[in-house]
Amino acid sequence: MNLFRGIVRRPWRTAAEAAALLIAAVVAFPLYWMVLSAFKPAGEIESTTPRPWTPAPTLDSFRRVFGQQEFGRYFVNSLVVACTVVVVSALIAFLAATAVTRFRFRFRTTLLIMFLVAQMVPVEALTIPLFFLMRDFGQLNTLGSLILPHIAFSLPFAIWMLRGFVKAVPEALEEAAYIDGASRARFLWQILFPLVFPGLVATSVFSFISAWNDFLFAKSFIISDASQSTLPMALLVFYKPEEPDWGGVMAASTVMTIPVLVFFVLVQRRLVSGLGGAVKD
């Protein structure tokens, strides 16, 4: 569905679509180069005659990636961490965003700003206190030590983001729902929740990617149990100082990027299907 259908004149739309495709191609070019490099045989990635194709594509780099100890396990772990973070932080953020939008109370602004504060310091500085916190919770070497901090770090953005969406839902709708005899819980989950869904999609993409790509927590908190490790660790293997394996890096990154695109294609339908229109009902 086009938001401006009937408004945008045809030549303009054609120009806009051409521009969109061109920009998509430029943006995708580094990605293409990444995938291409993953298929190039060793030694061709850095050749003095760079070619946008490869005469002898090979799966060697992918074999080195998949040949790693417990690669499948890493993959599942990453998926568990990212999905848990997405679901839990979305729910918590939805409640909190409703609170800061629908109610006025003291310290509201202070609270909102405080939510952001921790993101302002270098994460390396926080890993030491977090390390001891995780140790005292007995979470070291478990996926919990990755899930908990990621929920905490994705919440501020999610709350701020959903605030905007909750705010856009007219107060009148809430009053109407109560007049119809809906309970507070019913309004919250059956009326408000679907309305802010585009916002939830955007926040979930955000929290999914940041949890999925995290290196620092994984290498700081998963110390002695390789079976609890995540995918980025399988990528780091190829970054050996002095003798990095670029083919392996590119192949591992390709493997890591695909699930994110799948996740996005799954959720983007909800983003694009235009729940915005539902507000008017």
Partner: protein, 286 residues
């Protein structure tokens, strides 16, 4: 009532963000290196010693200035690109929209180390295709201070505009259609629709996108570290986070690193507060 809704968020954020930040502040007043952490040596109180050492370092001030300017350039470019493309997405049909969305998502999803490596390969004077396409011969992008910063800026915009684009696009989708139709029927230009209709409705989203971009770009690490090989020729491309890493975290000097962290926190907090104050002066309630 609001506190009931807020409770889960407060517990998580209080425990896992605020408490560590409090510890960070504490550590910045101590002598706290790996030897103290693992119990090899006792911790000792340093007062403002770590801060004095930091502020006494002439390089710190240069790096701070470079960081502020570089971050500002990144934020402006990212926001401009992200917003423009979000609007563009609303003007096109499904296929080009999906193409652009997927490309952007791919850029966003690429791990930062890989993204930086690929960009470096693309712009390599000996092995990269970009110089061939542009006919630049063996021009080195990372030798000059500004050209190195520019190259990093391109990569930063590449991997962070998708966040802005998707978020703003989601915001536009949530704006009731008839509001836009009414504006268009009134004969308002595209720019006016954005300026007077969309932007005010998207204000809360734009605010958070801006603040997040400021926070991230001020803290940019991986791109500089990888693309300029740890801060460029003779440290000309150092930014604060890389500086903190090299001076402190890499050699486990947590107290000095925490002091740098506190300084960064205060700067970002000041920027955020000023920004929010400006918004409020425009009559915008948070």
């Amino acid at each position: 009532m609001p506190w009931l809704y807020l409770a889960p968020a407060l517990v998580v954020i209080g425990g896992l963000l605020v408490y560590p930040v409090y510890q960070l502040g504490l550590i910045s007043f101590l002598e706290y290196t790996q030897a103290q952490v693992s119990g090899g040596e006792p911790t000792s109180f340093q007062g403002f010693g770590n801060y004095a050492r930091l502020f006494g370092d002439e390089q710190f001030w240069q790096v701070l200035l470079a960081t502020v300017l570089f971050a500002a350039a990144c934020v402006v470019s990212t926001l401009a690109a992200g917003c423009a493309l979000a609007v563009l997405l609303t003007r096109v049909r499904a296929v080009p929209r999906l193409a652009l969305m997927l490309a952007a998502l791919g850029a966003w999803a690429t791990p930062a180390v890989t993204g930086s490596t690929v960009w470096l390969l693309l712009f390599d004077p000996d092995f990269g295709p970009v110089n061939r396409i542009l006919g630049l011969g063996d021009h080195s992008w990372t030798y000059g201070r500004f050209s190195a910063f520019f190259l990093v800026l391109l990569e930063v915009v590449w991997c962070s505009f998708p966040f802005v684009m998707v978020t703003v696009y989601a915001g536009i989708r949530a704006v009731p259609t008839e509001v836009l139709e009414a504006a268009a029927l009134d004969g308002a230009s595209q720019w006016r629709i954005w300026r007077s209709v969309l932007a005010p409705m998207l204000r809360p989203i734009l605010v958070i996108v801006t603040i997040q971009s400021v926070i991230w770009d001020f803290k940019v690490f991986t791109q500089i570290y990888v693309m300029t090989n740890g801060g460029g020729i003779a440290g000309q491309n150092l930014v604060l986070n890389v500086y903190a890493y090299q001076q402190a975290f890499a050699s486990s000097q947590y107290s000095l690193g925490s002091a740098i962290g506190v300084v960064m926190l205060l700067i970002l907090l000041a920027v955020t507060l000023v920004y929010l104050r400006l918004l409020r002066r425009q009559g915008e309630e948070l």
